[in-house]
Symmetry: D3
Subunit: 66 residues, 6 copies
């Protein structure tokens, strides 16, 4: 019955990678807390780099600096 | 003053259906808890089927199996 | 498969009232979008009045003014 | 280490305005709570007006009335 | 830089188990998407069983039935 | 109409400090985006240090190391 929300920047994660995240985090909840996978929900949000900030700056700007 | 977030898979919910969700959940909070509808916020997130997992699989795959 | 999060101020909602919210919003998703209730999750957060702001003020202060 | 999520309606906020939100809220957490900006995350969600309700109505309808 | 939120019912997860969730999901993001663990945030919410619904019922009631 | 959620570790933020966060972030949305403060909601979550992870470790452990 757990609910997991994963937020990452939108930088081209593939369907296969997102599948691995869903699989991996569901398995983690089964292993650690014996949760029922059938009702475990995982939602991945891919966030525009203009809309994600860290250290007070949008990721868009941080990527340019590198 | 309540805040409600509804997450559903992106599978063609119409503006009319989303309107009914907003209306219905706002009314529910008025009826059950006597909340003020004027400051009740409802946010609906429509999530890509690749980004939503249940039972350890992305919905995209589950839909194919059916 | 929907996920619903309802945030309200912590002001004594009873178990019965919270049950009605869970029931009502699940039913709403069945009626409007034909969702499967078995995998519909609802999470209610009751938030301290010091931690909830509207109009720039904590609810604690707004309640005193009334 | 704080995490801040700002949800606004999708009505043309510019990259510059979003940058100001990220900067401003990060600075606020530094000033008020002496938080470390380097690990302060800010995520801005811009929500379709059909998907945002207030007072029981989608914002799309409210904007038309005005 | 990812942000992960894990919601589980409050049923006695230990500090050690929560540590394993934090460790496991951070590692998953490193493995699958090569994310930087140093700025990966994980927040676990433990939700009262009265406040968590599935299938239209609070978990409190479902646990009694079993 | 914006909704802001601020998550911080539970380490003794005072009612006065939380008031300043509410005031400050509401003002920021007025200044930057000309939002209506009357319907701007702010919710602050104070999260147990066992339940907050960064760099793959619970904050409880990180605080001990320092």
């Amino acid at each position: 019955m757990p609910y997991v929300n994963i937020k990452i920047t939108k930088e081209g994660a593939t369907a296969e990678q997102k599948k691995q995240l869903i699989e991996g985090v569901t398995q983690l909840l089964v292993t650690v807390l014996d949760k029922n996978p059938a009702t475990t929900l995982v939602v991945i949000d891919e966030v525009d780099m203009d809309n994600w900030g860290i250290g007070g700056f949008p990721v868009t700007e941080l990527r340019k600096k590198k």
